[in-house]
Symmetry: D2
Subunit: 377 residues, 4 copies
């Protein structure tokens, strides 16, 4: 009998890119087998997609409620153990809540919910349950991100005193230029996207990275957002001053109008003894700086890396990791948690990361509305 | 019923890295399901590994002969369609031959065989069959390699007049330094590794890349190999002058003693109208040069890329591809071939690539032994 | 008789690095000859240094007052035409003022003065005179900076809508860590360094770059500075939100505690049609981004560059420019101005750049003290 | 009286780029003053150019013979001490010879002469004299090249076992494409350019770099040159196998048809304990590789660099050096030699470097003509 963890999937059918990412990630360490789920609200598309994946029809359900109901009828040894929630954002909350309450582990796409309030409710629900809950802040899965985190934990760069995280994209620029076009995309529609476009979609990744890497909590934020046009309601750019403590500060810079930038998540962290530079688009190079020695370039797979980094590296040095590997490592972390084999808190992003993310978004928008003032987080 | 192609695997069990690479690659486009195979000659390890993968026991066979025998008994609709051959090099030939002769499609790890003679026999066998045969020259699967190939085909850089391919590794250096240690590894043992270490393992990749990208055949080689120590029999370094025609020349540079280099496959190709630079360790950047315009940096996923490149890119620009993606694209190419959906000859490396590779190795070793003279290929 | 411009130098003697920079820069285009000056307040050192430079003793003066007095006695054809002011910051104002008032052209090191008030007085003095006045914001002399400026002027990236300039150094970190040491350096002593360390020394370069490149004026600033320690009075780090207009914003990031960073002046500018990235430490690469075409990498010396860029490139492409070339180009710009051959306002930084810089520093410090509020500039 | 060395210049007038390079280089360390020379065979241009430089007319001579004659009449304390020979290649030999024989120090542009025979005569002449003789292999002046050399000398990378030097340019490509045009340039005319274009112009730089850096002598060469077209007589591309000893080999790759490449001199050197990568177009980054530690990136001006490297760095880290700095360092090395202050053999390229370079060119051409055979050097 298979030792693999039984995985169910909600959403992610058809041409969904996020669906591909999660399926491949789940396959990477031979830890999961996709058993069933609800890929699409339209039954025919749902069942066709399941067939494409080679799944047994009897584990494909007509809707989420049926999914829960029928799976619970199965003996535990056959039942889906963990569910990936890849549905539109507004469905994350109700689905995740019900899954938790029924004892399923959850891997939830970000943003965790659409409001901080929902996130807090979910957090409470999790506390009462005994389940594993992960939010897929994908970029924390890269081996060199994990290496950077561990080196900071070990004090290699001393006390962290400055954090600068960038997340620059340019994709919304050509859309925004066209007055008609910009009215039509969901990302800029407050009813669908919530209170923020740029901070909500990517600023939150940068924020998560800041806290993940340093192990510190951002205490205050002061946000300056930009909608670029009067008739556009949501931010497409935002610079956020952050403060960890009186003398430890930083900045989060996010944009969707950094014309020509692709997916420019970049990290610069400095401490009393050293610093780090890292760029997501070139994720296998970690630059370690000091006052007086030559810069070092760390790469995945070498014995000089720590365990969590090496755990996420499947091939010898020089075989580049990509974004799939990063998500694969997060799935691997969740698998270890489910099987009680976790040994490090950085193996996957938790409910707390999701809640902090929601809080960050709401406070940034509020800080901006109040005229760029400091708010506590 | 699943639309997926039924995949069998020979070898690649336990901690085999090549096993991980092939399994993940096969999962990437939802085109394959792993059905069975022989992962290990030791039955217990074989069956344990199969269980880890969640495979049904009745498709795990005690040995290759049984595999063939039993699979052939199954109705075609249930039978394994394609087999990945990941066994030690000397087994490639007998296994691939028998698979072809029994109508299985084959995905064979490189080197195709251990001698050119075997390769030629295999080639003949394939001609009589009706099967698809791929040799996994992995690096041709990168989107930007495919883009480069297509641009060369379209004449973007004019007539190719200079080719310089490097494949520098340093991993054998610390082993080679130790007189006792170097006697013990299979890679330097002529009985196990055949006539060449460096050219056979990586020079052949560089050679394949040269012919894949340019669409030209190397006509002559002059090789200068280096065993570094008198007591070491196999080359650990080799520079090979190549000639496509009287005035179109190039060089292949390969090394396993380029201390500190990881997996430095690098391409430089120049033509009458432009040139290309590309590096495997940073595979998402293709540098396109001309006489008088600014250098352009092409990246995966953009609409300016051609179909074969875009086909192998699963996410938007800025989400880095890695080595798994590259192998995934080759598996995808084979899947399209099996389903009669191929539209381009560059979608996977063929038997011909394998045979040319074997010829290249033998001629390089011979050229060197004869005192660095030109030999035709 | 020499056609060269007669150059006098104040300060910059002995081992002064800034002295070397100015002397070499002045030699680069065969436009200047160093005739005399006051290199050092100590006569013996002054005269010895002059001898080292091979200068005639009778043009070396005991002090600034004598310099002015004696030079004015000479016939105009022999008199020093332009004076480089390389003395400590507090001397810039009185020297520059007197030089202007006596009809000498001036090349003044930055900061222009120690207060905005002095700068304004100097500005008035200049208006009444007929002299050329340059402030050496060195980095605007790089050919690719000039190329970027011209492309922005020509509308290549459309309307600028986001500006992000970084200037990160780490040199003060090891000094700051030592409680005793940090009390002893002039850079952190308000009596010697004025109201700011980081913003005053390097933030002002970033600010100048922002206005130089975009041709826009920063209208408002909101600064968050960091002294890092309670007992340290001057900022060693500062993030400054900037606003050009309601929907055109940016950020200036400066630090002297970005541990391990050397001289990390980096430019990111985005407009409606494209964007630019440029890094001072690698000054010969200008990255031009658009929504849908491959990134272009422009380099000095190519015919695709504009005149001001090409004017500052002395050798063919591939011969790297350095910081001396950059300063050399500014000297060249001043020479053209003196000889009435200027054709572009970007050939050297002007009095206005110096005054704006002083204003920027004062407003940033004030914004921070008031609790990080917006101030107009 | 000036302590500066009196410098004369032959050639390099008008718009000569090499003239600019030498003049600026001579000014960089305040060690030279240009006193006179012969800039141009046409008197009017000669004298006008001298005036532009602000030189005294009475030290500008009508021709080389007069230069020698008149300078020798001057008392030694006034006489030109060192002469830069920047004239067309065929004049290097007669001028250098006469200068040496008359006791002048010489800084000679490369190639030293037009034939090996001339070079050998020059070498003998030098042995009889007491003068300093430098050949301007400019690229050995870069601080990080010097640092690499010293680290190799100190055994940091162990015993060197592989050397790969590239010098790729593309400038001749557009000229070569045009059948008429290629007949007209001096570089491809055997009467003017001698026996080689590519190897003679740039291959020789790569060769010099190989010997300069490793301290080893190339013992054998096997060259494969390419004229690209039947009607073109001189090589525009050449790959040269080199051998330092039986098991220490390498390759020199040079091209003028590497379309789009600018001035791509690149070094890869590997030893038993480590390796180096360095690129001329980005000269301030030295990559130091080992088997098992992170790659280190060394940059100029840091205390971890050796004396010869630091001597050639005028400003703190992060202020990029360029090609002028490199030549400046060579002039500085010659100045130290003239003033008996040399402390390292790598401070400037010597007569021996020039003679070796001529030998290399002749042997490469011969090896090619004989059908790509090994010749000793």
């Amino acid at each position: 009998m298979s030792e693999k963890i039984k995985l169910g999937i909600l959403g992610g059918g058809g041409d969904s890119l996020i669906g591909v990412l999660h399926r491949v990630a789940s396959s990477m360490f031979d830890k999961y087998e996709i058993v069933g789920g609800v890929f699409n609200p339209v039954w025919e598309e749902n069942i066709n997609f399941a067939q494409k994946l080679g799944l047994s029809e009897n584990r494909i359900y007509i809707d989420f409620e049926t999914f829960i109901e029928e799976e619970l009828k199965l003996p535990e040894s056959e039942r889906i153990e963990v569910v990936s929630v890849l549905t539109p954002n507004f469905l994350h909350f109700p689905m995740a809540k019900k899954l938790i309450e029924n004892g399923f582990h959850v891997i939830c796409e970000k943003p965790l919910t659409t409001t901080l309030e929902e996130a807090t409710i979910l957090e409470s629900a999790l506390k009462k349950s005994n389940t594993i809950f992960a939010v897929t802040y994908t970029y924390t899965g890269y081996p060199m991100v994990r290496q950077m985190r561990q080196m900071i934990q070990l004090g290699v760069i001393g006390e962290v005193h400055k954090v600068d995280i960038q997340y620059y994209q340019g994709w919304i620029n050509p859309i925004l230029l066209d007055k008609e076009l910009r009215k039509t995309i969901w990302r800029l529609d407050p009813k669908k996207a919530g209170i923020s476009s740029c901070v909500g979609d990517i600023g939150t990744h940068a924020f998560n990275m800041a806290e993940y890497l340093t192990g510190l909590e951002v205490k205050f934020v002061l946000a300056d957002l930009n909608t670029r046009y009067k008739d556009n309601q949501l931010d497409v750019d935002g610079t956020i001053l952050i403060r960890f403590s009186e003398y430890v500060k930083g900045v989060i810079r996010s944009s969707q109008i950094a014309t020509g930038e692709e997916n420019g998540l970049e990290v610069k962290i400095y401490g009393t003894k050293g610093g780090f530079n890292w760029k997501q688009e070139n994720p296998n190079y970690l630059y370690y700086l000091t006052d007086d020695k030559p810069m070092e370039v760390l790469k995945p797979g070498h014995a000089y890396n720590g365990e969590v980094s090496l755990d996420g590296t499947k091939l010898p040095p020089g075989h580049p990791e990509g974004i799939f590997d990063s998500m694969g490592n997060i799935y691997y972390g969740v698998a270890k948690a489910i099987r009680n084999e976790s040994y490090d808190s950085g193996e996957y992003p938790t409910m707390n990361d999701g809640v902090r993310g929601m809080k960050f978004i709401e406070k940034c928008v509020e800080s901006h509305k109040l005229g760029n003032v400091w708010l506590d987080l």
